[in-house]
Amino acid sequence: MADFRTHLMLCAGTGCVSNKSLEVKEALELEIEKQNLQNEVEVVSTGCQGFCAQGPIIVVKPDNIFYQLLNVEDIPYLVEEHFLKGRQVEKFMYNPPDSKEKIPTLDEIGFFKKQQLIALANRGLIDPEKIDEYIGRGGYKAAIKALTQMSSEEVIEEVLQSGLRGRGGAGFPTGLKWKFAAGSPGDEKYVICNADEGDPGAFMDRSIVESDPHAVIEGMMIGAKAIGAARGFVYVRDEYPLAVERMIKAIKDAREYGLLGEDIFDSGFDFDLKVNRGAGAFICGEETSLIASLEGNMPEPRVRPPFPAVSGYNGKPTNINNVESWATIRHIINNGAEWFSSIGTEKSKGTKVFSLVGKVNNTGLVEVPMGVSVREIIEDIGGGVLNGKKFKAVQTGGPSGGCIPESLMDTPVDYESLAKVGSIVGSGGMIVMDEDNCMVEVARYFLAFTQQESCGKCPPCREGTRHMMNILTDITKGKGKPGDIDMLLEMAMLVKDTSLCALGQTAPNPILTTIKYFRDEYEAHINEKRCPAKECKELIHFDILEEKCTGCTVCARNCPVTAITGERKALHVIDQDTCVKCGICKNVCKFDAVRIES
């Protein structure tokens, strides 16, 4: 085996792959060979490294030099300069939005500095398709310990003491869940990994399965030992092809190594796993629906009790946890409950992975200790709002969560504090919104999602979410009536109170929080037929400012409906009846002469 002096850790997560990181890899390998460096420099495809906004990225080991936004054309220069001549290439380094100084190494970049990695411990360090690399980084050590040196009770006690709470959204103590399943009578039990991630803007679970599938398998082995299960399922949505592929390969490799199968580590313990692909229904993230889907039935939630711990898959005791929870388990077994519970807040222990998206500079995946503030995540890690705009709100917990306004940005991110302000930690989506986002439209967007994903079993969710969406749509079109806000609040509370499962019970949250914190925006839409953020098309119009228009004709030439008229070097005018408010004129005007009025 060649003894490489340098490793290029190239991100091959879905974000970077869609930015052509695999082509960059090919170019790198070609160029390395051309320079005859193939025995000195190795390119390693890693899972998602988190900094999706800057992809494709590579991290040069051992010096941790961080290169970003690479193109295939850049590669010959990069290889020659850095890997042949030994000169680091500044132009591919990261430039923070508020400074002109380039930052050479990963450790100094704000995005990475405040993160603490547990679930993402192997981020950027291993090739997820090579089981040896996982084992080389201490993989399966916790499984050996749990299977050969610990009793089921000891495993459960360790997880219970760690304070780990479910990372899928509800935040139920994981150890307690295991205890219930372990205590349920029955000799046939199951463990399930819920990888049916479906919130708009969330990709934590996908990323973990893609970049560290063995961490999930190891967690499930430990959970299976704890509750006495011999079989498990990984339920992953089919829209995540790379996650499906890597999980299937990981299971196969683990089987070949004797890590799955019969009598694992001569412990007498049998365990095997199967991947089940979901067809992409959001409702399948709800545990009873997921189990129904696994059984081959229509994915509808059912009333609990009985909980899956008593009657789950095929009516047998079943323990179901989210991807991130499973990936965290091995660290608790390796390092102990005390270590884990020393991280985080009093009631929310450990770290949480968030997918930071929306109007934020550093889009990507971040893992932080529970209890850091919303502000730290958005400003220090996220690098602030895109294009220097003003922060308005952040939606946490996806369509089931709520928005948090600027005045509450110092709220610590933990289960209790977010619940107090009307939102949830949820599975970890964080959508940043700026001054250009209309909060009524935000609520309408999420309701459009939930009403489409409602399974239709119970009327409040099936019919109620649709009515609420319609009311919101009317408001965004200027058709809202006085009294609609209170009527909407009343309906939201009724849907929350009467729905069968968490989908319906949480669907009104975006409405409740946007009204709570941005009621004035609702009122402007209803009473003044005005959209303060100037986003709602029916309530805005475009105008050309006389003092700024130079008569360059660019707007007129780009208007798709020829609504703009004007002579060369003379003021241009928009015909309001023809205008479709597409905004192209505003985007193409170099003189900032087009204004949106509301």
Binding site: V303, P460, R462, D486, L494
Partner: protein, 202 residues
């Protein structure tokens, strides 16, 4: 036997019974649309919601479907609070806003106070009665009784739900009468809105 309190009366009930069965034993009327004593409880229609708390935290109550909730020790159950009444009215108004003139639903709506004179509606009821369009061109309320009777009792599986959310409907496979259908009429018999009818074919 299990001890619990329903509407202030502490009583003993068989441990395998549900809150719906227990309430009915006391003569308390609880409306249902998706329940049938011969089928497994479904909890879908939400009309049988009752307010439930435990004696450890009596102030912390939740609305639970009585058809699916087993009796358990120390439960405090209330079947006719304002919260329960409001919830039932809301459910029925949602269903009335959905379906085309189901006499059965109209009757139930009158009984429960969901259909009242013009002007007596609260804003939500007013919106659902007057400001929405019917969302379905069928009387079907998706209670699932027909689907469940066909699979649980006759074990024919000749009809099923199709799609989800507002697009959900009860269908026969591939829009053709299933080979397994024996024309027993059970589906029509259990349908609460008379949406399914049986035709005699000579």
């Amino acid at each position: 036997m299990i001890n619990l309190t329903i509407n202030g009366n502490a009583e003993e009930f068989d441990e395998n019974s549900t809150l719906l069965e227990a309430s009915r034993k006391l003569g308390i009327k609880i409306p249902t649309l998706c329940n049938n004593e011969f089928l497994k409880p479904y909890g879908g229609c939400r009309l049988c919601l009752v307010e439930v708390a435990t004696d450890r935290a009596p102030e912390n109550s939740r609305l639970l479907p009585s058809c699916c909730t087993p009796v358990s020790k120390g439960l405090i159950v209330k079947t006719d609070t304002e919260r329960v009444k409001k919830a039932r009215i809301f459910i029925l108004q949602l269903l009335l806003a959905r379906t085309t003139d189901s006499q059965e639903l109209i009757q139930l709506g009158k009984e429960l106070g969901a259909l009242v004179e013009e002007g007596a509606l609260d804003p939500v009821g007013e919106y659902l009665a007057n400001r929405t369009e019917k969302t379905a061109d069928t009387k079907c309320i998706l209670c699932g009784l027909c689907v469940r009777v066909c699979s649980e009792i006759t074990e024919r599986h000749a009809i099923s739900f199709y799609k989800r959310g507002m697009e959900k409907e009860v269908r026969i496979p591939f829009n053709k009468v299933a080979e397994t259908c024996i024309g027993c009429g059970s589906c029509a018999y259990v349908c609460p809105t008379n949406t399914i009818t049986i035709e005699e074919v000579s």
